[in-house]
């Protein structure tokens, strides 16, 4: 566990003072390095040309706000969830719906496709994460084989399978993240450190595959060691709730999107924020972010219904995409980078390429 009780000579006040002192010292050390911002380092990099990104598919079928989506590893199927409890699996390429489940709760804010493609996980206001094996028997009710895996004490905000169908990582409004064994529903590890609702998480694509990052209403992005449950790095530069976190493809950094209308890039080895993606004309919060395959582009879905495309290296905005008629609530790039999908409160999902 990352937190301990008070020691013999410690009061809340003394601990807070010590924390402040350490923070100041850290800032001094960082300043000594006279570090440049990323866009300065990338000054000589060739600017990007014009981009033509258009909606290539519009998926209609949800009867209410789309809240979350995830891609299948087959690069064309997706799962999406909505406010009215519906979870739908689509072949996004043909726009056919292949499975549908109605959850017993509203506001299904989290959903994920299993790596094997044989199951989906979802949850929301029911405070749980459930796994549904996908059956192709038309007569079989998917809800019959539902498996309840995670149990939190507040809403489920995000979920993700780890490298197999057997483990799920969750984040919750109860301020914690947790790792679960799917087969038994057993809690394998819990992660305490956020001081408010945790809204998002992403697994690191590292060689040793042992860390993940989470973002919360406490404006912090925390990096965790999955083995020990410890918070190993923490970043606090956003000015409001962090709605989305996503690793840079190499795993050396991650991006975040916040209600403060900015996206930011955090370098894990330099241990600090190295870029801010913002514009005065963008006055609504970011709900979700993801990188293109090479990491050169960062896509941000915003609460003002638009998608902004950023040049990660130069810090400039490359394009603004219109189309959705309400908030963009979720956005993910496909596994092979050929497209990205956005889900919106306008009840639709769009595939862009």
């Amino acid at each position: 566990m990352a937190c301990q009780g008070l020691g013999p000579n410690e009061t809340l006040a003394t601990l807070k003072t010590e924390s402040e002192t350490l923070k100041t010292k850290l800032e001094e050390e960082r300043a000594k390095l006279h570090d440049a911002e990323l866009h300065q380092v990338a000054e000589k990099v060739e600017a990007l040309g014009q981009f033509i990104i258009k909606t290539r598919r519009t998926l209609k079928g949800h009867g209410n706000k789309v809240l979350c989506m995830d891609w299948c590893k087959d690069k064309r199927r997706i799962v999406s969830s909505s406010q009215d409890g519906k979870v739908i699996v689509w072949d996004a390429f043909t726009a056919n719906k292949e499975h549908a489940v109605t959850m017993p709760c509203t506001w299904v804010m989290a959903c994920a496709y299993a790596p094997s493609g044989c199951a989906v996980a979802c949850g929301g206001l029911d405070n749980k994460c459930s796994v549904y094996p996908l059956s192709l028997d038309k007569n079989e009710n998917l809800a019959a084989k539902k498996k309840s895996v995670a149990m939190h004490t507040n809403y489920l905000s995000a979920c993700s399978f780890t490298n197999s169908d057997m483990q799920i990582l969750t984040s919750s409004g109860d301020g914690t993240c947790a790792l679960w064994d799917v087969e038994s529903g057993q809690l394998l590890q819990s992660f305490h450190g956020h001081s408010a609702d945790v809204l998002c998480l992403d697994l690191a694509p590292s060689e040793t595959g042992n860390t993940f990052v989470s973002g919360g209403c406490d404006k912090k992005a925390n990096v965790w060691d999955m083995r020990s449950g410890q918070c190993i790095q923490s970043f606090e530069s956003h000015e409001s709730d962090i709605n989305s976190v996503r690793y840079y493809p190499s795993g050396d950094a991650f991006a975040s999107g916040s209600d403060d209308a900015t996206c930011r890039l955090f370098d894990l080895r330099a241990d600090r924020e190295v870029s801010v993606y913002s514009k005065d004309s963008i006055i609504f919060g970011v709900s979700s972010v993801d990188f293109s395959l090479s990491g050169r582009l960062l896509f941000g879905g915003y609460n003002d219904y638009t998608i902004n495309v950023w040049d990660v290296l130069k810090g400039t905005r490359v394009s603004i995409l219109f189309g959705h008629e309400n908030r963009v609530s979720t956005l993910r790039v496909s596994p092979d980078g050929t497209a990205f999908c956005s889900g919106s409160w306008d009840h639709t999902l769009r595939i862009w390429a």
Binding site: L26, V41, D91, T94, L293
Partner: protein, 455 residues
């Protein structure tokens, strides 16, 4: 009324980004130039046109018209600017239509609840003025309220009458402005059925602060400081540039754009001849090779020739432990020990003595991470030794030579002829079929179990 508005703006603490825009728009020097706007026979002061708003936004934020119109429209929808003509229609028209700024008193960020009582008074005033001719949903709401707060209805009517009397004493222009302001406020706070409702938010986020002080290990961060001028991100994006479909296109074409799935067909896990880009990518980093099932297969072939395939097998078996079912861990750990680590094991892997000692210790209480150290040792062994040699090997070089490099096809000459969009077998179906046929072999590491795509 107008001096009151200005003073209020001065005192009001501007917090929201939207409000910052609104305040900037009203700056006496750099904001929009306000004028009198004619509304039928009345002259309304301190107003602007839709065009004024769009042009100001374009200039101030260096954005194109489409974006400026979008931002301006949001300002209207959120009640910070309201139209004088067609006041029920809260949209921004990029023409000479007149608009005014909403008084801060009515800003949606004020967050004092728009009470039933206030709404009742407003509807009653309207009812009296229009002599009973309220719009459908307003009529409905009026009747509902009349029932619900019937006990205070005398007060409601009295207030309504008093406010109407006071407004009659104002100049016509002022009266119109106040009516429009109030109407805009209620359109936001009691939107007509089916209309856009800005009050909609997701589930409540309780920003609680716990009393626990989190002393994260700050000291360790200082040790690992590193300058970012080592160009990591620049190098990475350059290396992957031609592999990024969004940046560089996608040979022969992006399926989502042309409806042609050849690109996917050429890159399944079971192709006999991989593409050039794919084989190239295996040389970027060891993890790329391992995470591509086909890459891993080819690497295994090479290792078999080198008589060191047991390393990769061991690594895969460890992955299976780490990511497999909790209940099978003890059994799997035992198997792995017997196969790879025990003296005289059939697939013995060369782990250094210190790591072996630690692993044997851990075997007494087998858990998901007991093989971690050994796995990492073997992983780095392969990375530092076998992998570089593989890339220099004839096997790999042949793959590169024989690899397919499809030409980038131009868009169809007849773009309006839509290709048939082929469906593909659902991965769940494929898995089910395998199981039913009894052909389900143990697929090894969970990583290999990625659904094949067949055209």
């Amino acid at each position: 009324v107008f001096t009151f508005i200005l003073k209020f703006q001065h005192d009001h603490k501007v917090s929201l980004p939207m409000e910052q825009v609104i305040v900037a728009m009203q700056d006496p020097d750099l904001g929009i130039k306000m004028k009198n706007q004619r509304l039928l026979i009345t002259v309304i002061p301190h107003a602007m046109t839709g065009n004024d708003i769009v042009e100001w936004l374009m200039k101030k934020y260096s954005i194109m018209e489409e974006e400026a119109l979008h931002v301006g429209d949001l300002l209207v929808r959120h009640g910070y600017i309201y139209p004088l003509k067609e006041p029920r229609n809260l949209v921004l028209r990029p023409d000479e239509s007149p608009y005014r700024f909403q008084t801060p008193y009515f800003w949606s960020s004020q967050q004092w609840p728009a009470s039933e009582l206030d709404y009742a008074i407003y509807l009653t005033k309207k009812n009296i003025r229009k002599q009973g001719q309220l719009i459908d949903y307003e009529k409905e709401n009026y009747n509902l309220l009349h029932k619900r707060i019937n006990h205070t209805w005398d007060f409601v009517v009295m207030q309504a009458k008093e406010q109407l009397r006071a407004s009659k004493q104002r100049r016509k222009a002022d009266r119109i402005v106040l009516e429009c302001q109030e109407q805009a406020y209620w359109l936001i706070n009691r939107p007509p059925p089916g209309a856009f409702d800005i009050r909609e938010h997701g589930p409540e986020r309780r920003n609680r602060l716990t009393s626990r002080v989190q002393l994260v290990r700050l000291h360790s961060f200082i040790i690992h400081q590193k300058k970012i001028h080592d160009r990591t991100f620049i190098k990475y994006s350059e290396q992957y540039f031609s592999h990024d479909p969004m940046m560089h296109g996608c040979p022969p074409s992006n399926p989502w754009i042309t409806d042609d799935i050849t690109h996917w067909a050429l890159n399944t896990n079971t192709v006999s001849t991989p593409t050039k880009l794919r084989v190239e990518r295996w040389s970027f980093r060891f993890m790329e090779l391992l995470s591509d099932p086909l890459g891993r297969l080819k690497f295994m072939e090479y290792l078999e020739k080198e008589f060191s395939a047991e390393n990769l097998c061991f690594w895969e078996a460890c992955e299976d432990i780490r990511h497999g079912e909790n209940s099978r861990i003890p059994q799997k750990v035992q198997e792995v020990y017997k196969q790879f680590l025990a003296p005289g094991a059939s697939k013995w892997v060369n782990v250094d003595s210190k790591t072996m000692e630690k692993t044997l210790e851990g075997l007494r209480r087998p858990n998901r991470f007991v093989m971690d150290d050994a796995q990492m040792h073997i992983y780095f062994l392969m990375k530092k030794d076998s992998y570089p040699r593989y890339l220099k090997s004839d096997l790999y070089k042949n793959l590169l030579v024989k690899a397919i490099a499809p030409q980038e096809t131009k868009r169809s000459v007849f773009p309006f002829m839509r290709r048939h969009r082929h469906s593909s077998p659902n991965p769940a179906l494929v898995a089910q079929a395998l199981e039913e046929d009894g052909k389900a072999k143990r697929l090894g590491s969970p990583r290999i179990t990625s659904p094949a795509t067949s055209p």
